[in-house]
Symmetry: C2
């Protein structure tokens, strides 16, 4: 029985083409807010994207997610109204200079995207005691986030843009979508085909914030302990190959 | 300037080989606890995997993650001790029958895996007001989870097994790894090459819990609203192609 579930090690190595397909997707995935086209997403495409989400890792194999597919113009409009109210509050939280920049950004595509999708976490889905959630209680929320990321990558590979809209009061999701109190709305995603994908994150292009150097985000054995002896090889590698992602984003003419 | 950042739409379509590479990775990714080999992960491989993590989406382009690479046998042993204590507490939370099954499962590979990796969320990394985190305060935690999932997929494609170990008191991460209070340890991952990958999740094989039917996890426009009219196409598609993931896991002989 256990043997049947095993994949011999000589068969687990992916081809370079498989590996490149993954990296190409990861490095070209973008948060899309403003390039949605009205073309519907065919059911077979959406089905594959949802399968990818459903095969995310989950604590105790809990699969705590549900997928709420929203096409109703009325529901979208209510969500958009709640966004608009929250976005005005949000803008005022930034100081004058940053606020001007903030107000110039388009931060959602609720009405234009043919599909909005809310991914939730039903904390009661596998009973009160969940393997792996006994001590760290947020593990089930994190499982639903893994589903979001799988979905986002599958969508990118299928040519579908996804934007995560988080500027809204959480209560709005409960009241507008009828989500019960014990279910946590994890992500509200705007999805659709796009006129183009951007090469870089929009917030990087707009100089809102810079890409941090990866080698400076890595510690060894203890928090804030930087390169020591044998560990220097990894840091050197990260600095030397800092342009590895660009090899995939540069596949497209600028 | 904006033009330079655009990728013309005719170039955004991935080849079938790219798409298959992604799906192959998603559907063959496993939570590994017991098949680690001692072979070191070369620095160039680990660097690529970390690049994938670093290119996860993040709220307000915050990049709140740090990567704490742990190779020290002493640190691993302390984490393992904290796991053992928590795991004993965890076992007792299940009723008699389930407890027996729980105790038969191997739930971590801390000491065997050549690398342990803690991915964190530094909530202060982009100042007090973060674009997109103004109303939903957990968004930065979710960003770090997206980094975990990107890392997990990149590792799988590179032939590296990853297991998420969550049976531990969160305080242990702070005290053993020196992580400050304002930084949240999101995931503790055991990583290494493996003797084999399993075809199915171990908890599915062990009949701990079943894979839920995806078509039953999908709602339309409102919570618990099931197929209505035009939406039936998606449900039919999900049921018809429920074996889509198996097309990729069956690439390997069982």
């Amino acid at each position: 029985m256990e043997i049947e579930n095993q994949v011999p090690v000589q068969d687990v190595t992916f081809t370079q083409s498989d590996i490149d397909g993954l990296y190409k997707t990861i490095f070209n995935r973008r948060d899309v807010r403003s390039q949605f086209k009205p073309d519907p997403i065919p059911d077979d495409v959406l089905a594959r994207i949802l399968q990818a989400a459903h095969h995310a890792p989950s604590v105790g194999f809990m699969q705590p997610w549900n997928f709420l597919v929203i096409k109703s113009p009325d529901v979208k409009q209510q969500i958009h109204d709640a966004f608009t109210e929250a976005n005005e509050e949000a803008a005022k939280m930034f100081d004058q200079e940053k606020q001007k920049s903030y107000r110039s950004l388009k931060l959602e595509g609720i009405l234009e995207a043919p599909i909005n999708l809310c991914i939730t976490c039903d904390r009661s889905k596998a009973g009160p005691v969940v393997l792996g959630r006994t001590h760290i209680k947020t593990m089930d929320l994190y499982s639903s986030v893994c589903a979001v990321q799988n979905l986002w990558l599958a969508a990118r590979a299928e040519g579908v843009g996804v934007g995560w809209m988080s500027i809204i009061k959480e209560e709005a999701f409960h009241s507008i979508l009828g989500i019960p109190e014990e279910v946590v709305p994890i992500a509200y995603l705007c999805m659709g085909y796009v006129s183009h994908f951007n090469k870089k994150p929009e917030l990087e292009t707009a100089k809102w914030r810079e890409r941090l150097p990866l080698s400076e985000q890595v510690f060894f054995d203890q928090w804030q302990q930087t390169k020591t002896g044998e560990q220097e090889g990894l840091i050197a590698e990260l600095d030397l190959n800092a342009d590895f992602p660009q090899k995939f984003t540069n596949l497209y003419p600028g």
